[in-house]
């Protein structure tokens, strides 16, 4: 197993050597988006500089090179998720796009009717709530919500009570973007499958930190975003189980997703192209493959250990501060949310920013979760391959200084 050389990793990220407000950048907002290593920057530049052409339709050499690169990127994603076939990998614009895709096609298929239920958790990001609310409005189905304990973990007995034969969809976050809760997804997916529900996991916060095996998870849909796993923005993935996707109607209509178009009738293309209308984000897909290759060259296990050590260090250092409250369970991953007694999260975040430290403050697109914990928001520090123990020490010192200025 390669040793985790964080200095060598940092050196691959040009943006990390910049300053903000005259201070070195300490970037701890990785749950919002991750920075890009040279391997990804180079892949993007090489695409536009050497092989850019429209794909799937051309006969000329560049279009063949671009097509091959795009489809090899699809294969890379399939291998990364251990999907049985690349036909189950649909490129989208991101996690939000992927979840909207599933909700929309289930709506068009009239898969749900009054009396049916969609089961979500109280941890969910708005992108894994609103598309389902919209589907409920269209179909007459209702939303059920798995409650969350005070430590940010899901109430499993409540979940088992909520899963019934009326449950048609279980849509769940793999790792919570606000609290870092790692959900026991295998147990939850198995129960949903047994009840006859379709299952979807929001993997936006999981793919950057854990190995994902969609066959082992036995999940029907898995969504994630490229930009959170060191790839460009504007590219994401929906993994969809073939035998389910093949029965569902198309989403967006247009070029690429068709076989034949005429005014007397149009036939649709096979999977996965049926769900990729128009010219895709070719550079994004290639950048995503480069990012996945990069993360695998580091090794997801050493990466995970490195990040877990940082999170534990941050939790310990911050807990030592007066009036500090941590949210989420102690085995959290990816993110750490906290608040300080009597201090507004916006104020703390602003002062941390003045010290060069980038964290996220506010509701983290999880307003229902914030309401459940009776806060308007939290401060969230989130970690990636290039963060260091020195940065965590700086974070704790900066929080202490900011708190003294605000009290």
């Amino acid at each position: 197993m390669p040793a985790f050389d964080v200095a060598a990793i940092r050196a691959q990220f040009p943006i990390l050597s910049r300053e903000v407000h005259g201070k070195p950048l300490v970037y701890l907002d990785n749950a919002a988006t991750a920075q890009k290593p040279r391997a990804v920057l180079d892949a993007s530049r090489r695409y536009y500089g050497e092989i850019n052409a429209n794909i799937h339709r051309g006969t000329h050499h560049l279009s063949q090179l671009a097509t091959v690169a795009h489809e090899e990127a699809r294969l890379t994603v399939a291998r990364h998720l251990n999907a049985p076939t690349p036909d189950e990998i649909i490129f989208t614009a991101g996690t939000t796009d992927s979840i909207n895709l599933v909700a929309s096609i289930l709506g068009r298929a009239r898969h749900l009717k009054p009396g049916d239920e969609i089961l979500l958790s109280h941890l969910e990001h708005h992108s894994n709530i609103v598309p389902w609310q919209m589907l409920c409005e269209r179909s007459g189905a209702t939303l059920q919500v798995i409650p969350v304990h005070d430590d940010g973990s899901l109430d499993l007995p409540a979940f088992h009570r909520l899963i019934t034969e009326r449950t048609k969809v279980l849509a769940l976050t793999h790792i919570s973007n606000a609290f870092g809760t790692v959900n026991p997804v295998r147990e939850l997916l198995a129960a949903a499958k047994k009840a006859g529900a379709l299952t979807l996991l929001d993997g936006a916060q999981a793919v950057p930190h854990l190995p994902i095996d969609v066959q082992d998870l036995d999940v029907d849909f898995y969504a994630f975003s490229g930009h959170k796993v060191y790839a460009p923005t504007g590219i994401g993935v929906l993994y969809g189980r073939y035998k389910i996707l093949d029965t569902l109607p198309p989403w967006r209509g247009g070029g690429e997703m068709i076989k034949k178009v005429s005014f007397s009738g149009t036939t649709y293309n096979n999977l996965p192209f049926r769900y990729e209308a128009g010219t895709p984000n070719i550079e994004g897909a290639i950048g995503l493959a480069a990012a996945l290759d990069w993360i695998n060259s580091i090794g997801l296990d050493p990466l995970h250990q490195h990040e877990q050590a940082l999170i534990r260090q941050a939790a310990a250092a911050l807990s030592a501060l007066d009036g500090l409250h941590l949210y989420g369970p102690s085995d959290r991953a990816a993110s750490l949310s906290f608040n300080l007694d009597g201090i507004h999260h916006y104020d703390l975040g602003t002062l941390l920013d003045q010290m060069g430290i980038a964290v996220r403050t506010g509701h983290h697109c999880c307003q229902p979760l914030m309401e459940r914990f009776a806060v308007t928001g939290t401060i969230r520090a989130s970690f990636a391959a290039y963060n260091t123990t020195a940065e965590v020490t700086q974070l704790a010192a900066a929080v202490k200084k900011a708190a003294s200025m605000l009290r």
Partner: protein, 138 residues
């Protein structure tokens, strides 16, 4: 003092601060000393909603001069509010409407007024003028 004179005085005070700690301690101090808004005035219709912090604004026009009461759950936002109130409070509605608020650009505090959806403060100056419009020409 006219609005322009108040702005000039403010800029002179702020220029004394050498670094960010001093500047923010000043703003935080303003926030701590801002007269609190009575609870019964912190109603939904007075709320300027933003993602990052909540801001309430009340405006009245006793004896032809604008009187603003404002509050926020964020201390730094309260400090920024205090700056706005200092500039516009006690002025006629017409003077408020024609006030040039670009002095903010020179305060070193402009990032709190960035036009992102997160920022209720960005709407503050506009809202204060809007309220003045209701009283103008009366």
């Amino acid at each position: 003092m006219t609005i322009a004179e108040t702005q000039q005085q403010l800029l002179e005070e702020l220029s004394l601060f050498q670094d960010w700690t001093e500047r923010y301690e000043y703003v935080i101090g303003l926030g701590k000393h801002l007269a609190p808004m009575p609870g019964e005035l912190q109603t939904r219709d007075r709320l300027i909603e933003g993602c990052q912090s909540q801001v309430w604004l009340d405006a009245s026009c006793p004896a032809g001069k604008m009187h603003y009461l404002a509050d926020s759950d964020s201390l730094i936002t309260k400090g920024m509010i205090a700056l706005f109130v200092r500039v516009l409070d006690g002025q006629t509605p017409d003077d408020v409407l024609t006030a040039d608020m670009s002095f903010i650009d020179q305060t070193g505090l402009k990032e709190h007024l960035a036009p992102t959806r997160a920022n209720a403060l960005n709407l503050m100056a506009t809202q204060m003028k809007q309220r003045a419009l209701e009283f103008a020409g009366k």
